[in-house]
Symmetry: C2
Subunit: 171 residues, 2 copies
């Protein structure tokens, strides 16, 4: 297993934006895993990642920001007990357990914020590392969207809907 | 079959808002089929229905607005070829084929706007009439979200993800 000892996760602050932007930019520009417009500006990207969600966190490795995630309410009204999260890891920090650490952290935060379940609306099916990790962390694939994602090199590929009930109670 | 002869569907105008609001209000207040906050104001409701989407339409029966639907892009970037629609029918106009007429109209409009597929993100599983109608109109249930909707009288119930590929080409 990876060594998580040097990972610490905390709420993001506006002063983190200079460190956050290169991480967002690299993932968004490649356009293989998220449904952001690849040409999104720095300001629009940071707004979507840090302002629109309910909460945004950064993961530091030896004090340097190497990953980030957000939590938002996935639907309003009768669907407001289910949250949605998105996670990004800097290219140079992959394979160190950061995504797993952030996902575990997010599940605890989601419960603390009052959510009962977590849903990933759009996991690109070719993103095998993510699919495998989310399964390992207790998420089920509850849906498959045929050819819902235009992959920049693989053409139209499926996207998965993944879901995990977090609350102890039956509802 | 129902008689569609007197149904006409056109783009919504701001001057339709007085006729639209009671339709939205009744569906939103009951809170059994859509994930809007049941206490949403008139202004916020009309913004979500008529301003935020890419296009909004009204369905008139004998010149009176009895239904409405919107089309929006469901995801950005690599997911932007899939649209999402929402439909509402006035309580007094149900059973006349309005929802079917609007859904057929929306499929044609979606293609005209350049979309290749249509996705319903959150069809409450207890809304059997809608589930049956969407199946009949070519949508597949591609996902099931367990206990994702807090129904006002039935407690936590599932929601379905439904999907239809619209384009003639394979992609």
């Amino acid at each position: 297993m990876n060594d998580h000892a040097n990972i610490s996760i905390r709420l993001a602050r506006e002063s983190d934006n200079d460190a956050l932007w290169p991480i967002l930019r690299d993932v968004i520009r490649v356009g293989e895993t998220y449904t952001y417009d690849p040409g999104l500006t720095r300001e629009a990207s940071l707004d979507l990642w840090t302002v629109a969600p309910r909460a945004t966190y950064v993961a530091e490795v030896d004090g340097e920001i190497m990953g980030s995630y957000f939590i938002k309410t996935n639907q309003q009204g009768g669907g407001a007990h289910v949250c949605n999260c998105g996670y990004m890891v800097a290219p140079g920090a992959r394979g160190r357990g950061l995504a797993a650490a952030m996902c575990l952290h997010s599940q605890a935060e989601a419960l603390a914020l009052g959510y009962k379940a977590m849903q990933f609306n759009f996991v690109v099916a070719t993103n095998l590392g993510a699919v495998h990790l989310w399964h390992k962390l207790g998420f089920e694939t509850v849906g498959r969207l045929p050819r819902a994602f235009a992959h920049p090199t693989q053409g139209l590929v499926d996207a998965l809907v993944m879901y995990k009930w977090l609350a102890e109670d039956a509802g």
